[in-house]
């Protein structure tokens, strides 16, 4: 593969090997991880992706392409794994993740209003990351704590029986 690429729907540029000229100095982190885990084969894919995600905060397309080139693990195989597990993301993530429950119990208790208040408060779209990199906002099915409905999680912490006002107050505590 030699041509420089652009994905179909404005997807990120994918690095095409040497001379491509696209790579930021950032590759250093990936190199370190590869060196540490070497020799890497397909069996190490999940730990490898976890390490990369920890290092970069997400899985940048260019880094994945380079890692694929060096390890011989096809990009398609990585992508299958990345999209299978929710822990992985190919877009930059905020420092904190807001998970807003949209399950039935939460829904009937006003989860929609809570969500709207939060979206407005931090200024983001569902699935997106705030411009200041503070939050990534996700809707999730049932968080399994229906007795607390409506429920929102921020990082690993649960907040229950929320109202729009309470929710706004909570996120103010994160920077």
């Amino acid at each position: 593969m030699t041509e420089v690429s652009k994905g179909h729907a404005g997807e990120p540029h994918v690095h095409r090997g040497e001379g491509c000229g696209c790579l930021a100095a950032d590759l250093a982190k990936a190199e370190e991880i590869l060196a540490e885990l070497s020799p890497v084969d397909s069996g190490d894919l999940i730990p490898l992706l976890q390490r990369l995600q920890d290092a970069y905060g997400y899985l940048p397309a260019d880094v994945l392409a380079e890692v694929s080139e060096r390890t011989g693990i096809p990009l398609s195989r990585m992508y299958g794994v990345i999209t299978f597990y929710t822990q992985f993301s190919t877009t930059p993530r905020g420092r904190h993740t807001i998970r807003c429950c949209t399950g039935t119990a939460c829904h009937v208790r006003g989860a929609k209003d809570v969500a709207e208040a939060l979206l407005h408060e931090v200024d983001v779209e569902v699935g997106g990351t705030t411009a200041d990199g503070r939050f990534t906002f996700e809707n999730v099915a049932c968080l399994g704590t229906c007795f607390l409905a409506p429920v929102v999680m921020v990082d690993d912490e649960y907040f229950g029986q929320l109202t729009p006002a309470k929710a706004r107050a909570i996120v103010k505590n994160y920077s």
Binding site: S5, E11, V14, G19, L64, S76
Partner: protein
């Protein structure tokens, strides 16, 4: 990987009360299907690892609880199986209804209507599409195929059987696609959702061919006819020498080829195709096709009638023949055309033309194989069958890039690798195979004999040769041995520019890895020492006894669809059909009696001689059939000048080529999709070519045109059909005598096949060489005619790529191919690129002593430093302006693989 090598062992299984014999290791489903017992199955394909994803092949096995997926169960002696109980039928119906709930059930407007497993099974089980609420994904969202011209993915039709992904991973090994996401949103995607063209996709279309529904479909075929309206015509691919069997899906209402498919189980390709076989047929219906005879008057072509054109050709050719003698007239036959047409072409030359000046493009490619292997072993053909490749233990590839040039042979090699074969690749580039090789010798172009001699010396030193084989089956060993003395590993390492230990390891791996097999192509032959290269590879095989067995031998992969056949048919100066020497009195007598003429006695020449003679003004009339020498021979500028000196030039063609433009008369021909006949593939298998559509305009089948030209030249020729021509040829040629159209209707036969009872010959030289004793020859290393110097410090090598075919006037008519490879390029090592300050994607000027071109640079580490590599597919940027018209000393094959060059910023 379900790759069972045990053969012949069977077990008995009871299926629905019937005793069925099944091969050990086969799946229950395959065993049932082979016995004609119908079990529905969507995710199964005998080429793929079973996954049990669709759950339609459920059966009951006695003594086991619940239902089992028969595709994932291996047969066992005494197994009792029931396939049609109420329970399994109800479960299958339920599964189908769930599938339908995720499917946009739209048979009215679906291209697959009539050839869809989901449709068939839903009907069979009367599945109710409304039983569950429909949750099919939306159609029309952009996905990885949106920008592709080749294929289209519609997730609303996808049943998530994963066959496409498994095919891409396991068979093609392209790893372009995957199943992305989870649960209800699972879909097919490339890595990170990039477009198909930017992924590692090779456009083989295998994913489309395996898809049980219309979820993956050929984009250009959409709307041109539903599957149930299409008629399948089995034929042989017209591109490379693999000779894949494929089915033209023709819409009889529109006289159009709609798409190409291939059937699992067919020989030699088992349902797989490459991008050319699958997609490069648009040229057939191109508006640029020649449709009427043309005569040049005052430098302009005018349309003419057939009668006029034929009369003119007849008159001028005979005049020149009579005035200037047999060496003033020459015929160039075509390895792109059928056996029948090649046979007729040489008959035309030798009867009406009264000359042995007949050749075809084997001179341009595998002339050295025909000559070199013919001399050493007695037959110039590939010694083994394609199906034997998967059982080779050590694949020895030299100057061959099968995954691009012979992709289906490439698939067979991939299969061998999956089964654990070792791989040695000698190639100056990092090809697909080289990257996966156990040993990659990335030697300098033109140092093959240095390498091979050193390897052989080492093999003898380490006692890894086969003295018994050498003693009993070969001759001239002492002279050969004497010659090896000068070639030490150290010297070779130095000359070839590779580490010495790699040469030693390669020699050992090849000698020990029984069965080992050599595969080579034009990286060996297209050198001024091409025939010597071939002779030396024969030495290597004989020395180690790695020849004359199943899965072991020396295999030139032939370039063109019928270059094997064109040689077989005697379209060359020194032999008649079946390699019968034109100087042999008995042979002459036989043909003279059959043809009713006295055969010509001039020696005759090769295409490169013809061109030289044209330049000298000695060649006055030239009949050029299905070839474009101006584009395909080296040093195009000089060649065009030489050709312009010919008094009377005839071109029998399907397109207006560069050569045709110079012609006095152009005769419009039919392409392979419009006529009947046979091709011989690289493994000597004679296979049928069948007419699928009508020819455009007044174009005529070549065999008719040749007969009419012969008649116009005063030698009456007439045949009712190609079968008749074949039978005439077979009766005169012992190698092919046992073959007729009836015998090869389903599966082709590999010659030699001397009698009607003979099954054909999968591998050659068993027990005895065709020649008798194998001939060892002392081969010196000689450098290319042009070697790098201060002025032109680099080596330019050329070749072809996966996506286009040679001069590409056929393949480039396909949008998907043009999209993938729109322009010429040069591969440059990044150190050399850095030295002149260019980056990947920049334009660069490439110069040789013969010409210069400005092309895009592909900068990487694919080629050796000091070397550049180019393909020759693009008319607007003709690489053969640069190549050297230096020739192999025996066969006059051009030295395309090495000349001196330099690069600079334009």
């Amino acid at each position: 990987m379900k790759e069972n090598t045990e053969k012949g062992n069977t077990v008995l299984v009871n299926i629905d009360g019937r005793e069925v014999a099944a091969t050990v290791g086969s799946s229950l489903l395959d065993a049932a299907l082979a016995a004609g017992i119908h079990i529905p199955h969507i995710c199964h394909d005998p080429r793929l690892t079973p996954t049990g994803a669709c759950r339609l092949c459920l059966v009951e096995i006695e003594g086991e609880r619940g239902f089992q997926t028969s595709c994932t169960r291996t047969v066992a002696q005494g197994m009792k199986v029931r396939t049609q109980t109420e329970g399994v039928r109800a479960s299958r119906k339920n599964t189908l209804e769930l599938l339908l709930s995720e499917h946009c059930v739209d048979c009215l407007t679906c291209d697959k209507d009539g050839d869809c497993l989901l449709q068939d099974y839903s009907y069979e089980y009367q599945a109710d599409k409304a039983r569950f609420p429909n949750v099919a994904p939306a159609a029309g969202e952009p996905n990885y195929t949106t920008e592709s011209f080749a294929l289209e993915y519609d997730p609303s039709k996808c049943v998530r059987c994963q066959k496409c992904v498994r095919y891409c991973q396991e068979v093609q090994m392209a790893e372009a696609i995957t199943m992305a996401n989870r649960g209800g949103s699972i879909e097919v995607s490339t890595g990170i959702g990039i477009s198909l063209n930017e992924s590692s996709c090779e456009l083989c279309g295998g994913c489309v061919n395996v898809c049980p529904t219309s979820a993956l479909y050929d984009k250009q075929a959409k709307g041109l006819g539903r599957s149930k309206d299409l008629k399948k015509v089995r034929t042989t691919c017209t591109y490379c020498g693999v000779g894949c069997q494929m089915d033209f899906n023709v819409n009889p209402k529109t006289n159009r080829i709609v798409r190409v498919t291939s059937e699992v189980g067919c020989i030699p390709n088992n349902g797989s195709l490459c991008v050319k076989g699958k997609y490069a047929f648009d040229f057939v219906h191109s508006p640029e096709r020649l449709t009427t005879p043309l005569i040049k008057e005052n430098g302009e072509f005018r349309e003419a009638t057939w009668d006029e054109a034929l009369a003119l050709v007849g008159k001028r050719m005979t005049e020149i023949r009579d005035q200037h003698g047999p060496d003033a007239i020459a015929f160039l036959s075509s390895s792109r055309c059928t056996n029948e047409e090649n046979y007729l072409m040489q008959k035309l030359a030798r009867t009406a033309g009264r000359t042995n000046n007949i050749d075809q493009c084997a001179t341009t490619c595998h002339g050295p194989s025909v000559a070199g292997l013919g001399e050493s072993l007695g037959s110039g053909a590939m010694t083994n069958a394609i199906v034997e490749i998967e059982d080779v233990q050590t694949l020895f590839l030299i100057g061959a890039n099968p995954t691009e040039a012979h992709p289906i042979v490439g698939l067979a090699m991939k299969k061998a690798l999956r089964k654990g074969a070792k791989l040695v690749v000698c190639d100056p580039r990092d090809t697909w195979m080289a990257k996966r090789a156990d040993i990659h010798i990335k030697h300098k172009p033109g140092t093959d004999n240095m390498l091979i001699n050193a390897m052989m010396g080492y093999i003898i030193e380490k006692n890894l040769h086969d003295p018994k084989f050498v003693e009993e089956r070969c001759e001239n060993y002492p002279a050969f041995l004497e010659n090896l003395k000068g070639y030490t590993i150290e010297k070779a390492a130095e000359e070839c520019g590779v580490p010495a230990h790699l040469i030693r390891e390669a020699a050992e791996m090849y000698a020990k890895g029984t069965p080992s097999s050599i595969f080579y192509t034009l990286g060996i032959t297209e050198h001024s020492c091409g025939t010597n290269n071939v002779r030396n590879l024969a030495n290597l095989a004989m020395l180690t006894g790695q020849i004359g067995k199943r899965s072991s031998g020396i295999n030139p992969l032939r370039g063109q669809n019928n270059v094997q056949g064109a040689c077989d048919m005697g379209a060359m100066h020194m032999a008649l059909s079946g390699y019968q020497k034109v100087t042999d009195p008995a042979v002459r007598a036989k043909f003279e009696a059959a043809w009713g003429v006295t055969l010509p006695t001039n020696v005759g020449g090769r295409v490169t001689d013809f061109m030289e003679h044209a330049g000298e003004g000695k060649l006055k009339a030239f009949y050029c059939f299905g070839e474009d020498p101006i584009r395909s021979e080296p040093n195009s500028t000089k060649l065009a000048e030489d050709m312009a000196k010919i008094d009377f030039l005839v071109s029998q063609e399907i397109f207006m080529t560069e050569t045709a433009k110079l012609a006095d008369v152009i005769l419009p021909a039919t392409c392979f999709a419009e006529k009947d006949g046979t091709f011989a593939n690289t493994e000597r298998r004679i296979q049928r070519v069948r007419k699928a559509v009508d020819a455009p305009g007044q174009a005529r089948p070549d065999w008719q045109i040749i007969s009419q030209v012969a008649t116009a030249m005063g030698y009456p020729m007439s045949y009712n059909d190609p079968g008749e021509i074949y039978d005439e040829m077979a009766a005169l040629s012992p190698n092919f005598a046992g073959i007729n159209y009836e015998r090869i209707d389903k599966v082709g036969i590999q010659w030699p096949c001397p009698t009607k009872e003979h099954p054909g010959t999968p591998f050659l030289h068993a027990g005895r060489f065709t020649r008798g004793l194998g001939l060892f020859q002392a081969i010196p290393h000689t450098p290319p005619v042009e070697v790098p110097d201060a002025e032109y410090p680099m080596i330019l090598s050329t070749g072809r790529t996966l996506f286009n075919y040679n001069i590409a006037n056929m393949t480039r008519k396909t949008a998907a191919i043009e999209h993938k490879q729109p322009e010429n390029f040069v591969e440059v090592h990044r150190d050399d690129a850095a030295a002149i300050g260019i980056k990947n994607g920049d334009m660069v000027k490439v110069e040789t002593r013969r010409g210069s071109l400005v092309v895009k640079a592909h900068v990487a580490r694919k080629v050796r430093p000091g070397m550049i590599w180019m393909a020759f597919h693009h008319e607007e940027s003709n690489t053969n302006l640069l190549t050297n018209d230096a020739f192999d000393t025996t066969t006059r094959t051009g030295e395309y693989k090495a000349c001196s060059a330099r690069i600079s910023k334009p």
